[in-house]
Symmetry: C2
Subunit: 493 residues, 2 copies
């Protein structure tokens, strides 16, 4: 296993390379043999499982139920919703045949031309079409509503330029799809799920986010409104970390999902959809990690505390007794602990490896500690060590983990707050945005200005943010026309 | 929702139809719009999640870690292992293009001929090939072994005749893939995982199984040995419920996975793979359910206890106080409870619906119960009702759930034991096997006899079973040649 810490590029030298190396060196993921796809390795998957588990509980607490819909979608479904097909038909994996056969002219197997499908099938890029085609059979009366479904699955969008977790052709995600009797209820649900994402990002991932609503240009294909959470990476770029869409009656109409309302009249169902993906892994890495590797917030970390004995040969038995019991006492408190007494790796290697993997707390004990009744405690967020009494150490850990969680969040929140700037001068904006950061700028609401900003600076309107003033707007910094709102602009991943 | 109980076909009238209807009426799954695929509905998925969760804990307890590998496999990978390609290349979904475009001659979208892949990609029917092509980079020394990975994912095998859960083109499963330094260790792991499956089937699903090893004909394509658990359905047919394969060095050699062993010599890694799928849902349904619907063993049931108040109008407030508190007391004991006070369905409808859905215990309370301090308790396995004191009812429930779990298992075990027969007369066998049941018969070990039995009776050799005598074998009932073992023969799903 190539976990050598020493080779990790420093963020200041090459941020992008630092990220790519860290993902591989911390054993999170690697490029697969299929172009643009990834293999998620055990440690990376353990983190993803924690994301899944904690988010899933929060979904269920709002009444959402899990389901599973097929991964293949008939090609014609995509064309049913006019905007949706524009957004998703372009970059699809297309299944055209259902059989291979021995190559009549040599080795291996070839596609059997006899086994051509009548209608091609698409590997789902997202599932609105197939789900709403099914909802048609599930929804007849207002009594059947709301319908609140979610699925955890893989999706495929053919991407030309890929990066592990941030942009891959196949990725894992959850997609929620709800149907409602009224417009108000659907809009409220779309906003509710955005808040679930934002709270989850804060409480578990320790990532502060800006909530807001997308411009028309940046909306999900087929949505009336797209709500987003935008996180700031350490290089000042934005990473869209979750979106929730109010779909109006677009899919209800496209797939004929009508119900009889309380007034006994037929009406089309109102829809939302919302999703987060393995992209969150990228957000997590780029928000907290440092030149020594990952920094995981304790609420998320698959291993919260690692205990490492420093021993020679048979000494291990003494450590196993003392530290094994400590591990058990910590587990009894609900803490995720690893006791690493493997004898095929030196303590120094282990230390570097757990630093690289971002384990929040490391406890190490050598022969002298054992004699003195002490243990060495290292917290990953500050990289600070101290020697503390062994007795009662387990009482100290839960509060310490909370302290680390808070500290990791506070650090990210400070960075976010310190790098949001108001700006209404375009020349100044163009110069400053190169350095990263989020810019609050007056906008005239037209797609033309939006396109010009993007063309000039590569920065995009991330959202009309919530929680920032929309008063005294003044004029659009590009067109000089009266501004209709203040938007958040940034370069992004 | 079409949950009408009254229409459920009786098992005695048409077992196959009873199954198909029950899957749909109990809201477990339905046919998808894509041929041969299924939609798993919320209640069905909740059961699958319980299967996943309980099995996953057992895998992890043996040291297995979860991972994720891409769903697309380059066509050429399949040809690398000679037997494997024979077994899996035939029925594949083949991705040949990566883009659609607007139809230049009319509506909708068409496959863009410019976007043809250089090499076709296959949607994984199973992942040995792609995983072992990656293991090549992960395994260098005996210190890297054993490598114990598992993934929960979707797979696709193009099927012409499908049935919900039992045989669908896309299905959900887990596939474990381990690599070892020695033959002995790999064989032991393959057997260990079979035991994990068998114990899980018994403890959680309440399904007794016969463990054994497959004949060469029935082996996994590329395996040296396939171990299986075979369950008996109520119609006496076998359902293969999980398999574990000892793959020898076949994949190690095919993908060049070599390691340096303790003697410092290069050696090919030894492999196992093992899986269970949404087929288990079929096994579960057909083992326990009755003419009133599903019967779920309490250890698995997403809802273990349902509480139904029988009320008119405003009375509900009194019930909510009393029964809401009971629900909380039960939850505090770790019991999965649903308190159903919905006012848009009659109690009679709810009773039938929860019976159909197999909820193990139903508690119902009406006005008289409230006055008398009693509650009605119904257990789903026996369909027996009794009126019991309300006070302290929560103390009684945990033991009752255990009793139901045991009873459900015992009933299935009795049926299995009573329907395993020894038989060494082929004429008799041919007649009796039509009625279902498992037959222990002496076999000469040849593929010829095996094929003849299948052709004559549609029954197949399920396995050489463990736990049944292999002494005094006598002669093969078909060929009259000396038998080499006693095999278990049955018709199967």
């Amino acid at each position: 296993m190539a976990n050598e810490l020493k080779d990790l590029t420093k963020r200041a030298d090459d941020y992008s390379r630092w990220y790519n190396e860290l993902v591989v060196k911390a054993d999170l993921a690697e490029q697969a043999d299929v172009r643009g796809c990834m293999v998620i390795k055990p440690y990376g998957y353990a983190i993803w499982e924690r994301i899944q588990q904690t988010l899933d509980e929060r979904f269920k607490a709002t009444g959402v139920q899990n389901v599973y819909f097929p991964m293949l979608i008939p090609k014609s479904f995509l064309s049913r919703e006019a905007e949706h097909v524009e957004g998703f038909a372009k970059e699809c994996a297309v299944v055209t045949h259902y059989r291979l056969k021995a190559n009549p002219e040599g080795d291996g197997v070839v596609v059997d031309p006899e086994a051509k499908l009548e209608e091609e099938l698409i590997i789902r890029p997202t599932s609105e079409t197939t789900i709403w085609n099914t909802y048609k059979n599930w929804i007849h009366s207002w009594r059947d509503l709301p319908l609140l479904c979610n699925q955890w699955c893989n999706v495929m969008r053919w991407e030309m330029r890929t990066r592990l977790f941030l942009r891959t052709s196949e990725f894992l995600w959850q997609e929620g799809h709800t149907a409602h009797a009224t417009r108000e209820e659907a809009e409220a649900r779309a906003k509710q799920m955005l808040n679930v994402y934002a709270d989850f990002a804060k409480d578990i991932l320790a990532i502060p986010v800006v909530r807001g609503v997308k411009s028309e240009t940046e909306r999900f294909a087929g949505a009336l409104d797209t709500y987003t959470i935008e996180a700031m990476m350490q290089d000042g770029k934005a990473l869209q970390s979750g979106t929730s869409h109010f779909l109006g009656q677009n899919f209800g109409k496209a797939f004929g999902v009508q119900f009889v309302n309380k007034e006994n009249k037929p009406e089309y169902a109102w829809a939302t959809s919302w999703g987060v993906s393995t992209r969150l892994m990228g957000a997590l890495i780029m928000t907290h990690s440092d030149d020594n590797g990952l920094v995981l917030p304790p609420h998320l970390a698959p291993i919260q505390v690692v205990i490492v004995p420093i021993f020679k040969g048979k000494e291990i038995e003494k450590f196993d007794t003392v530290l094994g019991a400590l591990a058990d006492r910590l587990r009894a408190k609900g803490i995720r602990v690893k006791y690493d007494n493997a004898d095929n790796k030196r303590p120094g290697f282990k230390f570097a490896d757990y630093e690289l993997k971002g384990v929040p707390v490391r406890l190490a004990m050598g022969g002298r500690d054992l004699e003195n009744g002490t243990i060495e405690l290292m917290r990953r967020d500050l990289l600070e060590k101290e020697t503390v009494p062994f007795e009662g150490i387990e009482e100290r850990i839960p509060a310490l983990l909370e302290e680390i969680q808070q500290n990791v969040y506070d650090k990210a929140k400070r960075r976010l707050d310190e790098n949001i700037f108001s700006c209404d001068d375009y020349a100044e904006f163009k110069e400053r945005v190169k350095q990263g950061g989020f810019y609050l700028c007056p906008w005239d609401g037209t797609a033309e200005t939006e396109a010009k900003i993007k063309a000039d600076t590569q920065a995009t309107i991330r959202c009309v943010p919530y929680g920032y003033s929309q008063e005294n707007l003044g004029v659009d910094m590009v067109s000089g026309k009266p501004a209709t709102c203040r938007v958040l602009i940034a370069r992004s991943y």
